[in-house]
């Protein structure tokens, strides 16, 4: 009857709007009916079992099955957000990564002389005073000219100090005066001070300019570290005042750095390199930076087909205090990544061929809710100061820089400038060093909250490097090699190249396999539902239909029965009160009962002859025409009576 056209259906629904309740008149009847007719397996057993013990056991079993289902489904739900990892390897033409190459020494020492002479003089004086080191005795190549001691006084503000009696008195480098130390002592190198050698302790003191009683004392166990740290501190001050264009000129040009270049079997030159100015490493050059829109790719692995460059490392022009090692630093990175060369660069030796074989791995994590990572960094409340795609490093550095600008009023030299800020220097921000050290300490101790705010990036590319070194040039080829390279270098330098000024670098793909490690959701909704279904089916042969049944029977029908009871009681009470016609009430209830038992009463069209004819056979069956084959027919009867009411009622109308 449900297939009747729409109007008919609505009409019928209207006709039957007074909701008829469930068939069962009482709650227990309803329960019995439910148990007998439900699709779940346990209930029926409870009803049909004979004997109290058996029934009890079945109740127990059914309940435990329900419990198991609930438990297992909860487990399934809790493990829904788990990920499985898949690794795919694909052999293909691979994009060549960007390779950023820097000289370890940031700026040509000869051209920096104007800026650093004062500082160097100071440093040398310190060396002489504290360690008895003097220029003449050493093998330092360049002669230190007499410099005009115009003397800026900020060296005086943060002098190197030598601590005689550790912690309390110190000798000032400049004045030679002893003075008392106030404030807390920070030991940069270790927390344990070797008290026996207290004479050797050297360090410097940083004071809050606004409040001179607030001082922090930094000491180092080795003078090498102390001098370098102290030098760096002043060096950054000086560099912060030099505009970028000047700094770029002070550093190495591409022609200075790159002697030869060869990529994928073809010659390349400085046009393939992009200048990238790094605050601590000066001019760096990025090969294949993708700036002009094309990214080179490799279609053959092996050392011949990678990048081969010979670098000119002018060791004679190194800053003796700032850097103490010689060579170049390189980093292999993605075109969109910022090269954190000071953090994760690889150092390249001079007078050697460094061969760097790469394996490419791409990884991808699932973001929320699977793991706490970020796709683009847009959801991180830290402004990306670098003009590159998001990474954890970038976030941490940006976060620190922001904190620095907020609390110190100026930006730290090693990181890019936020809008409207400028780099710290002594002239404008006399207090910045103290502030910086304090802040940095907080940062390291995770008190700034940067580590909490910043999240991993969800996808990242990694080039695993295998570095090996060979002697280069070989003793027999050294002669002609150096001559030809000197010739290549041209007229710019007149001297013959030394092999310790050169570094040969080969960067290549070991193979063109791209490993892609990706996380995939271990579960989908479909699989979750299947698992639910499996659990329900395994323990109780239950399905969503059963759940609906339960809701229907236990909530709607039960409620209805209770309500009806109440209604009948009220009605009866009302009738008793008002009238004494008891027969009628009896009749009414009878009718009502029939109505419940007979839900089809409103159904179907009037019976026609044909429908009458279509009555199922079983009605005729009990006719004694055929001998009943023992008890089977009896059971047949019961089978049909179960089936019958529906069709019977059709007939009755």
């Amino acid at each position: 009857g449900a297939m009747a056209p729409g109007k008919k259906i609505t009409a019928r629904i209207k006709r039957t709007l007074p909701v008829k309740g469930p068939q069962a008149p009482t709650l227990s009847e309803l329960m019995r009916w439910y148990c007998l007719n439900t699709n779940t397996h346990g209930c029926r057993r409870i009803v049909v079992s004979r004997g109290r013990l058996r029934r009890f056991i079945w109740i127990l079993l059914t309940l435990s099955a329900v419990g198991l289902i609930l438990w297992q489904c909860a487990e399934l739900l809790m493990n829904y957000y788990s990920a499985s990892v898949s690794v795919t390897v694909q052999f293909q033409k691979l994009p060549f990564p960007a390779v950023t190459i820097c000289n370890i020494n940031p700026y040509k020492y000869s051209s920096m002389k104007d800026y650093l002479s004062e500082l160097d003089k100071e440093t040398k004086k310190a060396l002489e005073t504290f360690y008895g080191f003097s220029e003449g005795k050493s093998k330092v190549r360049r002669s230190v000219d007499e410099w005009n001691s115009t003397g800026s006084d900020f060296f005086k503000q943060i002098p190197l100090l030598k601590f005689e009696d550790f912690s309390k008195t110190a000798t000032d480098l400049r004045s030679g005066q002893k003075r008392k130390i106030e404030g807390s002592v920070f030991h940069k190198d270790s927390s344990i001070v070797n008290s026996g050698d207290s004479n050797d302790i050297i360090g410097f003191q940083l004071c809050d300019a606004n409040n001179s009683s607030e001082c922090a004392l930094y000491t180092f166990s080795s003078g090498v570290n102390a001098i370098q740290e102290w030098y760096k501190l002043h060096y950054m001050n000086i560099m912060a005042q030099i505009p970028l264009e000047t700094k770029e000129k002070l550093s190495y040009s591409a022609d200075d750095l790159l002697l030869t270049c060869f990529f994928d079997g073809l010659s390349c030159d400085k046009r393939h390199f992009t200048l990238f100015h790094h605050p601590l490493h000066g001019n760096c050059y990025t090969f294949n930076s993708g700036e002009n829109g094309t990214i080179l790719s490799t279609s053959t692995g092996g050392s011949e087909y990678g990048l081969q460059v010979v670098l000119y490392i002018d060791e004679a022009d190194y800053n003796p205090f700032l850097v103490t090692s010689t060579g170049a630093k390189i980093i292999v990175h993605d075109q969109n990544e910022y090269p954190f060369i000071e953090d994760i660069g690889t150092e390249i030796e001079t007078a050697a061929a460094t061969s760097i074989g790469m394996h490419f791995t791409r990884s991808r994590k699932l973001s929320k809710p699977y793991s706490d990572c970020t796709e683009t960094g847009a959801d991180i409340p830290v402004e990306n100061l670098y003009n590159k795609s998001y990474s954890l490093q970038i976030c941490l550095h940006s976060c620190f820089q922001k904190a620095m600008v907020d609390s110190c009023g100026c930006a730290q030299y090693a990181q890019p400038l936020p809008a409207g800020a400028e780099y710290c220097n002594y002239k404008k921000n006399p207090n910045w060093m103290y502030c910086y050290y304090r802040l940095h300490e907080k940062f390291v101790k995770e008190q700034l909250g940067c580590q909490q705010i910043c999240k991993d990036a969800c996808s990242f590319k990694e080039w695993a490097l295998t570095t090996s070194i060979a002697q280069w040039p070989s003793t027999v080829s050294e002669d002609w090699m150096l001559r030809v390279l000197s010739w290549d270098k041209g007229q710019k330098i007149n001297k013959k190249l030394n092999k310790t000024d050169l570094a040969n670098l080969m960067v290549f793909y070991k193979d063109l396999n791209e490993r892609f490690i990706s996380e995939n959701p271990a579960n989908t909704l479909v699989i979750l539902l299947s698992n639910f279904g499996g659990q329900l089916g395994l323990w109780m042969s239950c399905s969503v239909v059963c759940v609906i049944e339960i809701i229907e029977v236990f909530f709607i029908d039960s409620l209805f029965i209770v309500m009806r009871r109440q209604w009948q009681k009220a009605k009866k009470w009302w009738n008793d009160q008002k009238r004494d016609r008891s027969g009628k009430t009896q009749q009414g209830s009878d009718l009502e009962r029939q109505g419940h038992d007979n839900p089809v009463c409103i159904d179907e069209d009037l019976p026609t002859f044909n429908t009458a004819l279509r009555l199922p056979l079983p009605q005729d069956n009990p006719l004694p025409r055929t001998p009943p084959p023992n008890y089977s027919t009896l059971r047949l009867e019961t089978a049909f009576t179960e089936q019958l009411p529906d069709t019977l009622e059709v007939g009755q109308h």
């Binding site: 499985s84 390897v89 002697q471």
Partner: protein, 668 residues
Amino acid sequence: MNLKKYFIRALHRLQKGPGYTYKELLVWYCDNTNTHGPKRIIKEGPKKKLIWFFLTLLFASLVFWQWGILINTYLSYNVTSSLSIGFKTMKFPAVTVCNANPFKYSEVKHLLKELDRLIEVALERILQPTPGNSSENASPPLDLELWHQIPLVLIDEHDKDNPVIVDIFESNQTALGNQTAGGNQTAADNQTAGGNQTTADNQTAADNQTAGGNQTTADNQTAAGNQTACSHQGSDNCTYRNFTSAAQAVTEWYILQSTSILSKVPLQERIRMGYQAEDMILACLYGAEPCNYKNFTQIYHPDHGNCYIFNWGMDEEALNSSNPGAEFGLKLILDISQQDYIPYLSSAAGARLMLHQQKSFPFLKDQGIYAMAGTETSIGVLVDELERMGYPYSDCTMNGSDVPVKNLYSQYNTSYSIQACLRSCFQNDMIEICGCGHYMFPLPERVNYCNNEDNPGWAYCYSALRSSIRHRQICIDSCKETCNDTQYKMTISMADWPSEASEDWIFHILSYERDMSTNVTLDRNGIIKLNIYFQEYNYRTISESAATTIVWLLSSLGGQFGFWMGGSVLCLIEFGEIIIDALWITVINMISWCKGLKQKRVQARYPDAPPTVSELVEAHTNLGFQHEDTDALPRDEVLPPEPGTPPPNYDSLRVQPLDVLGPDSDAE
């Protein structure tokens, strides 16, 4: 008549079925099916009936939808990876050691004499641009034949549009042979050709552009060492390969020339000219066991001459290592005798070594690492394995048999690898296009290596092929990686060796052992110590397993069906049965309808007394009866004998399936 018999029997079979009309059938199905929804449609009141009908429909469509998703998931053949890390006894990798320099200079000097003199003079001229200063007056005449095939030229690009090309030798001989290869014009090219006498320099536009581009980089003077390669002498088909660095140009030029010379030397001779195992491998210790150069398998590698492979596993069992640490690994002392290097061929000095799997060919240019002379290089090894499932899970090959490239490295008896495939692919292309094989790769049968005499244009052909992106892509596409990929992750560290205090006696002993004399023949520039050992965790295995198996698919399908409708495969069979029944009903209805038409015609012809109601009922319900009656086939003994009497046993037969429920109702 057999068919008819069968048909009638089928009709009877149907009579034992659940009903005679569609409705009955449906009702019977809904009532008796094990699927949860339909029963409700029958049992409930009219409104609930409606609700249940829609619910059942909804659930059924949900089930089908989700099944679709599941089957799709299954067919995408996903894999899950499992990772295991640890230490276990493993086969020690095969270790290939070579000298970076392929041949002893003292042995090949006579072959390369001409070439070396040529390059020396050429360098002289490059480095001293003022002519006349060269000190060639005393030297014997140069063999310019070699030169003319592939000359080195200088390209002066001060003028972007008119780069000046100077052949280093010609420039001296023909006074001021500053021929201009003007722009891209062939006229100018011809002029150049005339000046050169030997080479027709047909500079292509692209070349000019690159060359022109150089000009922008050069501030005042860029003198680029350049190299031309012509396909044939005197032909117009020439290209310039330009280099920004003379050092690079000279090296490349020398490699091309020496390749051509050495390719004519028979293999035995080449092996003899290389480094012998007893000279190179001075000491060997594997774990606590001593080994010597005899434990190494010699292999001739075109790049590096004689290479020696330890533990290759070709003839003998591969060695196992069951302990981590340097003490249980391989310790080698090598001598690379740097004094005997060919000066122009390889500028880097050291040993080239590589770790690879047993029975695989070492591709040193790709995977090899250097070890520096005068140092001790320690290599900690982690075996990084990737075990993948083959088709259809991932596109990889188990043994290379399904790759359409003929593996030329199989002559070494080595297993398939992607590097072997790519090289074979290149060599095959080279043979096809240039007519000869490249010296760096193995040869198939009946093909010779390229050399300048037999194949004058090979260098041009080779460089064209090498830079052809299309050919590379074809090779990349046709080669597949292997399913089991093993990489040896190396942690390399170096220290100076021997120490200053110990170097005297170490050199003495090693020299004595090698040469049986007290003269010290070794020095810091030649000696290398190698330690290769397993790390504390020596393996990291990523193995794939199918994420979706057929069992998974079935249980998921079952789960879905069970979840929404409580159904199982049996329910599907039930459903199928119902459909068959419905078909039968259709057939029967059709037949009865036909019968009806016939009867009507018969009735029209012989107007008879109209059938009684009971007759009609019988006719309607018992089709078998009607059928027989009208067809009048008394021969058919299977037919019910008495019209009007239902077949005596069919109801009891129908009970039969209900019997399954027997115990249940008994319990009641």
